[in-house]
Point group: C7
Chain length 74, copies 7
């Protein structure tokens, strides 16, 4: 049996709500629609949060992978 890979964890999170944290300290919380090997990520029904405050609501957002630090499930 092959050992698990990090992208498997993202694959299991498809259509679930995730928290994406950026190098600029913004957080985007939404439903994971897609990702690729660069960790580019698309999420839907999004809340942008800065220091815990909701700053914007967005339908769909594309997040460039190299700006991401961590991704967690809600």
């Amino acid at each position: 049996m092959e050992p698990a890979r990090p992208l498997d964890a993202l694959n299991k999170a498809r259509d679930k709500r995730i928290i994406v944290e950026l190098k600029n300290n913004k957080q985007y919380i939404g439903k994971l629609k897609s990702f690729d090997i660069h960790i580019n990520v698309v999420i839907e029904d999004v809340e942008e949060r800065v220091n815990g405050e909701v700053t914007r609501k967005l339908n769909t957002i594309f997040i460039r992978g190299d700006t991401i630090t961590v991704i967690s499930t809600e």
Copy 2:
């Protein structure tokens, strides 16, 4: 059926108005004309905004992918 990929979301946004946010905190709002795998992006009928204020109007702008943090639809 193949799972969705992040670039599909950009493809659906062609000719629609998008908001491109940069690492230097500038925003460019305009109509998406083209993009590539590096997430280099060309938009038209552009407003540049800094801290929510419109700072410039531009016909066409080329945005280098590695300077982008997130892209959303208006």
Copy 3:
């Protein structure tokens, strides 16, 4: 006999608790589930710590490799 490689050390740490330190000075302590050659890492039962204080508890977290400085075992 081939000389040891750095990823061997991560392989031995699978299912053990590790401390992952980020360029933004956050620490994530949890059980190592998977990693890849980019040093993307997934850990479970996670504590986030900033300046030694626990700031969040998370079930599962994906950490992007290029944001990591060092990984140690507890």
Copy 4:
């Protein structure tokens, strides 16, 4: 018909005056002579501007792509 690509927009700007903006907030305004896939750019009859003030005039300048944020037409 193939969809447009971002470099097509640069190609159309050949021999036209463009504004190149850098991560260090300098602007270089000049006539686009050449570019490549790294977005390395050569422009001629150049004005360097910092905060809107002309700081230098240059015949020809080579700008390294990874230092560029956006390129627009005048």
Copy 5:
């Protein structure tokens, strides 16, 4: 005879104590167990030092290559 290469110097330091210095100004002093072409490094019996002060003792640490500035022998 082929000229020497930088990785030869790391190879000679295997099982010897080395000082690894990071972009964040932390130093890790320990016995070199393994390295790869990315200069990812694993050391054992480690002291972490900040401004010359010992801040932690660690059994084994994995250091991501792109965070390293210089490596010297003790």
Copy 6:
């Protein structure tokens, strides 16, 4: 006829005096001896300038490409 490429402009500057500007705001002015596709550059009879003041004179200097912002002819 093939369109011009940015490296053509550097090629024409061989053995001419150029000004190389770095991300750390230092300038190196000297005669261009060689360059490669990474824009690594070697210049001779060099003046280092910081804020317009000459800070050092050097015979030959190797400048790593990824630290360069722009190159112009004197």
Copy 7:
């Protein structure tokens, strides 16, 4: 005759004393023993200098290429 390349200049400096300058403003002065295409460099009989002051003496040091700005001969 092929045009000169930047690495030729480093090759000529083998076994000569060079000054390596880093993005963090440290200088390492020592005898060049080896380098590679990433500009990883090993020097011997090394002085570390910060703001012109000698801060350490080292036998051998490995310097990661991506942390280097310029290399000059003494």
